[in-house]
Subunit: 215 residues, 2 copies
């Protein structure tokens, strides 16, 4: 079972590595890290993640994972990436996204008429692609599964692991990665965080977007 | 503020990327990915993570993050890695580990007489280093912070972010990565998972360890 994880410049590392850490443990899984050009891809904060395969080398993965990040705004306008995503989706068993990876699915026309989720700060953009934003951590619509921001990819992938194998296998994967989360604060959702915390994040997102726009 | 994340062969990707995704967002943070030799390091499942710096290039980081993985059993016997960890610890502000990264801290002599945690399947090994295993997700003893298995690095790093900046900044980072976890199962802790799930994981760990031993 071939699982393709898309890499692109200025990706968010955890968007990709969260699902990866779950999905490579599914029996029979073979993960391919895919980018326009194989080699080192730099995340939005400079960490180097290695893509072993070009888009052309992985044409019909059973599972497609599209992470997000500040760079998703560029990737969603890249015809080579959109063509690959569209094409992979025609034969995929599951097409998934994490965070603003949903914008790439949307730009590829895969979310039209579907409920979907993304990072809370970008929910309004889903409407531009004919999708209906839903404030859920994981949204499954037919064979398309979208996850909310960054860390939600872990929850999304555990649900996908269940669909790909069995409940007991997915439970064992959750135990393998000791995923018994105990966040120190209750501010992980925009519906729970206080206004000053939300403002800090919106400001950081604006700064990151304008840095990315300038670059 | 220099943050060094150690990479070594057969690391667990999420052990490193979980804390990374939190810590690079701390104001003033500069993350260095460090390995014996700079270049692509392969995780226990083959993913390539890029180390930009050699051990000798990052000698006095304020924050030290030592991830784990199947390869920790080799890294904990590597004099070059142990010497670097020991030396960095003499000047660090915080010395931290995730998962079996604690075994590397232990082998470097940094856990003697301390309470510590690691992946649940390896808790007994902490005793060999004079540490007292504690079944907590995050254990702080002086300037040493150990996190439990794999995903616990996110919780550990959020606590560290609070110590490095402020509660409101750490809360904003938690919201940035939308860390409002909703695991599909309640099997992420060995104290909650049913016996058949625990057996499956113990068997997978045994297989991985013997593959690593053979390689």
């Amino acid at each position: 079972m071939e699982i393709a994880i898309l890499l692109f410049d200025a990706i968010t590392a955890l968007d990709a590595v969260g699902p990866y850490e779950v999905l490579w443990r599914v029996p029979g899984a073979r993960v391919q890290w895919v980018a326009k050009s194989p080699g080192v891809i730099r995340t939005e904060s400079g960490f180097g993640m290695y893509a072993d395969r070009s888009l052309g080398e992985v044409q019909s993965p059973e599972i497609l994972v599209v992470p997000g990040g500040i760079g998703a705004r560029t990737a969603m306008r890249d015809p080579a990436i959109l063509d690959w995503v569209k094409s992979a989706h025609t034969t995929s068993q599951w097409t998934t996204s994490v965070c603003t990876g949903a914008l790439i699915l949307g730009a590829a026309g895969l979310l039209t008429g579907l409920k979907a989720t993304t990072h809370w700060s970008d929910h309004h953009l889903l409407c531009e692609f004919g999708a209906e934003p839903v404030h859920s951590r994981v949204v499954r619509q037919g064979k398309v599964i979208t996850g909310a921001g960054v860390s939600a990819g872990i929850d999304m992938a555990l649900e996908l692991a269940r669909l790909l194998s069995s409940e007991v296998v997915a439970q064992a994967i959750q135990l393998s990665i000791e995923y018994d989360p105990q966040p120190p604060f209750d501010t992980g959702s925009v519906h729970k965080a206080p206004p000053e915390v939300i403002s800090l994040v919106r400001e950081a997102v604006r700064r990151a977007q304008s840095r990315q726009g300038a670059a």
